[in-house]
Symmetry: C2
Subunit: 449 residues, 2 copies
């Protein structure tokens, strides 16, 4: 079952390479600029949070075609020696301007602009869209869940139901940017230095003769951090067994961390559980809820005042179930200094490199509107904040990027500065994006927004 | 930006490891059996196609915790030397029974059963669900698109919009099982020996002074395989330019392969294009359609008789947009020879290892119903076909698995043998699954289906 394992460089649509060969042979190899943006926000999204930049820059810095990759390409018979030799020496030598990870963005605003020799700029398209689209959808979904949970902590339990392992790891990272407190995914915790969080599975309970024996075995192994899953057989009996174990832990100077509800009427059961725990003088034992939750069900629980201290959120967040895709696109906007654009119905683009400016209401610090201008335009109004900054020059990352924690802090601040109408979970407004006259004039096929 | 890169072994929910430590310390380390199944088929699914087995078996054979993994786990302070030592020597030593990839399955039918020392069986849960859930959703989605397309070929254009690169590669593989003819994803083509397919992007056209120059440059580089994208500016003008280039190719003994429509009213434009091509004696030039297509829009195009020879399908298939998740579960069904089950509301399971039997209508060879029995039960009726077979013993793959091509052939045969009512794209029926009395008697909390 062992097979050739291609490098990341071959995570590329075939046409990027065939176009590369055609560009090379026709001598059409000047510099081009590409904009990465979404044409429309997905349903029920008033904003998206930008994420994925770190992986994009790492990919651009490390991008090489291996001997194995080149042998495979040669074997297809589609590529000549001239292009294979080009790929053998391939390095990404371009420049990148980007928003900070954690920045809120809206339709038609580039989050990334790449300027590079056209073949280089083209070859990286597939990977760039893939990573930024995924990470931004995930960060946004997580931010919605965190908002719904009010003050309760939310942890990522999605590793088993994401679309593959790359998505599982990136969901852990992006959901942390969106405000989650930790992840069940151990590898992602290790990679990104995020807290790992876990309780126990029903199978652990069913392996023992009785629920009480299972709880005791787990509490013996983790006396100071156990969260006991109480719904395997009968939830009320399960809570009683957890109370017994909590009192046993107290005699040894330890404290039960929590109990977890994973099925049934979570709101109702959480109230029963809270009363049983409080009556047993276990006010410190936290109630954790999980099982098919998303921002909508969590908002309903939180509104009903369910005494839930923390949520574990898996499937519905981990696939961004209500919005599993965006129309993220990576479009050429200049070639050899000349602005270019396509006019395809519904897919027309603004030509030329751009800048995005954010403007706040001076009275309350809330976002009022954005401006989309050409990259070299002056500030369209006083106090406008420039969102695109140089992050890579000549293929090398310039200066410091935000750390994961800083991106998370920025995302929190961004959400605090967005109008409530933009944050609504259903049918939100978006922020007005004003397009400069200069940009409109240079982009036939587009109408004033 | 370089960080510790954990191995695949850490693609695991934390609780798998904490339970492992608790099992080890309580001496609860006997053999257990786990069933991987879906509780309910997703909306608008009368069946699912099983995929992902190859990756599961490779993972089980190669599963090791690296020194780096172990150092990280030690550094968390949650694990004792006893359990770290256990993980250092960890090998998967269990057995696996599974369906063949490409097999159609229904709710409550195990596709995989794992029997192993309980800690081993538990640690592999996260990865097994992740891979099988994803691959099966993807294969099924692809089969729906292929059915809708009638005889036209369908290619995977999803690499840029799948949730990450693992999903992109697995979508290429799973969609091939589901009947796609090829993929735009070069690395997946290389890895799985699938045909790679590609045309050109709008950016290629806009890089040149004119569409005609761009077409000529591309046709020069690929005289015998060019598919020209005709909707960058004005589609009718684009088709005219393609006709010009096709005639130029003919003078050099080459033939234009196709033109691609990616926007607008695809059905209408395909009729215009076909007539223009036929009027120019270019009946051999294929029309390829793409741009936000799925089984529903393709069925509408096919029904209207649109003269489309091939479809490129991306986003909506690559995230299985109408059903991006299933409730795939991996449940312990025995511990130390004792049948076990949980009774949580809506999540109760049948205890004990199982067998799935498929029964056909003798008159027409169409699937009539399945039987779910205990693993060691006799055939429930004459001519019933057993679907679960041993594929791994003592941690080693036994005998030959289906090749990717064989899995694809099996899937095609499976679809031919399913009733039309089960194949419907909307509100399909499913196949009745009869549960043996013995299984029902041993599973409190379940009702007769």
């Amino acid at each position: 079952m062992t097979r050739f394992d291609p490098s990341h460089a071959l995570y590329v649509d075939l046409y990027q390479l065939t176009m590369g060969q055609a560009y090379l042979r026709s001598g059409q190899t000047a510099e081009a600029t590409f904009s990465l943006f979404v044409r429309n926000l997905p349903p029920d999204r008033g904003f998206l949070l930008f994420a994925g930049l770190e992986d994009v820059l790492k990919y651009l810095e490390e991008l090489r075609f291996t001997f194995g990759d080149l042998d495979y390409l040669r074997s297809t018979g589609q590529f000549g020696d001239d292009f294979i030799e080009y790929l053998a020496k391939f390095r990404f030598t371009g420049s990148v301007r980007a928003m900070d990870e954690g920045t809120a963005f809206f339709a038609n605003e580039p989050m990334i602009e790449v300027t590079a020799p056209v073949i280089e700029g083209q070859i990286v398209e597939t990977f760039l869209i893939n990573q930024v689209n995924m990470a931004s959808l995930f960060a946004t979904k997580a931010a919605r869940v965190v908002k719904a949970a009010g003050g309760a902590g939310v942890a990522d339990f999605a590793a088993r139901r994401t679309h593959g392992t790359d998505a599982g790891n990136k969901f852990a990272r992006s959901s942390y940017i969106g405000g989650f407190v930790g992840t069940s995914n151990v590898g992602a915790g290790a990679r990104y230095e995020i807290s790992t969080i876990g309780t126990m599975a029903h199978s652990f309970i069913t392996s023992f003769d009785s629920e009480l024996k299972a709880f005791r075995a787990y509490a013996d192994a983790f006396p100071d951090s156990a969260t006991l899953l109480v719904d395997t057989y009968d939830t009320v009996n399960g809570i009683e067994a957890a109370v017994t174990v909590a009192h046993e832990l107290e005699t040894r100077g330890s404290r039960l961390a929590g109990i977890r509800l994973d099925s049934g009427d979570i709101g109702f059961l959480s109230r029963i559980a809270r009363r049983m725990l409080d009556d047993a003088s276990l006010g410190y034992v936290q109630i954790v809820a999980s099982g098919g939750l998303d921002e909508f069900s969590i908002e309903a629980l939180a509104r009903s005042g369910a005494p839930i201290g923390a949520y574990g959120v898996g499937t519905l967040a981990g696939v961004s179930a209500d919005a599993p895709w965006s129309d993220a696109a990576y479009k050429q906007v200049t070639y050899d200094g000349r602005p270019v654009a396509k006019f395809s119905p519904g897919k027309a683009t603004f030509s030329g490199p751009k800048q995005v400016w954010r403007c706040f209401d001076a009275r309350n610090g809330i976002v009022a509107h954005d401006h989309l201008t050409s990259a070299d335009a002056d500030s369209p109004e006083p106090n406008a904040t420039k969102l695109l900054n140089v992050v890579m020059r000549d293929g090398t990352v310039t200066g410091d990027l935000l750390s994961l924690r800083q991106a998370r802090d920025l995302a929190r601040m961004e959400l605090e500065r967005l109008p409530e109408s933009v944050l609504e979970l259903e049918k939100p407004m978006s922020v007005p994006v004003r397009v400069s006259d200069e940009l409109l004039a240079g982009s036939p096929g587009r109408e004033k927004m």
